[in-house]
């Protein structure tokens, strides 16, 4: 169970969240002009990387906000969470370790 830091509510257990797949996939606005293959790529094909993954989570049992998270699919390390529209979290070399003291929410 991952401890996930909701960008609004602070750190909560994973069971409060639902997973929303890869992040930063922009829905084509010109879909009518796309080939079946291009459209299929958008709908079905994901990077599924071994390693750093930018993904979406939904704070389903909390504030009901969607947000993004950078996580390593091999080491399990969560590198950070950020709100939609914010730039991708910079990923430092070291995985995140629960920090001394303050892992509370923003409030």
């Amino acid at each position: 169970m991952l401890p996930i830091r909701c960008p609004w509510c602070g750190e909560r257990e994973q069971t409060e969240f639902s997973y929303g797949g890869e992040a930063h996939i922009v829905r084509p606005t010109d879909s009518a002009d796309l080939t079946d293959a291009e459209w299929g790529d958008y709908v079905f094909f994901r990077t599924n990387p071994r390693g750093l993954h930018y993904e979406r989570w939904f704070h389903a049992f909390g504030c009901r906000r969607w947000f993004n998270m950078a996580r390593d699919t091999v080491s399990g390390a969560i590198h950070g969470t950020y709100r939609p529209g914010e730039p991708r979290t910079d990923v430092p070399d070291a995985p995140r370790v629960p920090v001394a003291g303050g892992d509370g929410g923003e409030g």
Binding site: R12, F61, G62, C63, G107
Partner: protein, 198 residues
């Protein structure tokens, strides 16, 4: 066609937990607080016009800090999210307040939704309340982390709850959907069993 007929008796408003006797154990009790009207307010935390309008009607600012509640002259406002608050008010004044708020929000991107019946509230209090909650709620409720007028939307086992610490007792108000209320009540009462002598 308006062959209007008055009902024979005034309709009775019921909650899902009506008639439940309080459950008590050593150091913890489960009770029903008085029925409150409940309004969801929607608007941006960063929308000054909205927050000002809300503050004006409510007589106190909405709590803008996550996971906090603020009491004002017209009721208790609980932070639910960056664009969402729950306001608990006296049931009798709920409609009027909703109307006032709706009027105050005219022209703004904001909303007022009456959810008085959607949710039921139960109250768990006493020195052992934390131990009972820990049996299903993954939040850290240590007083250093969660104190009076902190609130959180979280879960108790499978139920989504809105937890609000009322006093240092500690006493918690736990708000849950109508259809989950009976289950949650039963679960909490069961969780208290350990603290009852036979």
């Amino acid at each position: 066609m308006a062959e209007q007929q008055a009902p024979i008796t005034a309709p009775i408003r019921r909650g899902p937990l009506d008639g439940r006797a309080p459950v008590t154990a050593d150091g913890v009790s489960l009770t029903l607080p008085a029925f409150a009207g409940k309004l969801v307010l929607r608007g941006g935390s960063d929308d000054g016009a909205f927050t000002a309008a809300a503050a004006k009607v409510l007589g106190a600012g909405l709590p803008l800090a996550p996971n906090t509640a603020a009491r004002g002259p017209r009721g208790l406002a609980l932070w639910l999210g960056p664009t969402e608050w729950m306001v608990h008010v006296d049931a009798d004044t709920c409609d009027a307040l909703a109307a006032e708020l709706t009027a105050a929000f005219a022209g703004l991107h904001a909303a007022v939704v009456d959810v008085s019946d959607y949710y039921a509230v139960m109250r768990l209090g006493g020195p052992r309340a934390r131990d009972v909650l820990a049996k299903g709620c993954p939040l850290d409720l240590h007083p250093d982390r969660f104190d009076v007028d902190h609130c959180a939307q979280t879960r108790f086992v499978a139920s989504a709850i809105l937890l609000h610490q009322v006093d240092v007792g500690p006493t918690y108000d736990i708000q849950v959907r109508w259809s989950f209320a009976d289950f949650l009540w039963t679960y909490l009462a069961d969780a208290m069993r350990e603290f009852t002598s036979r």
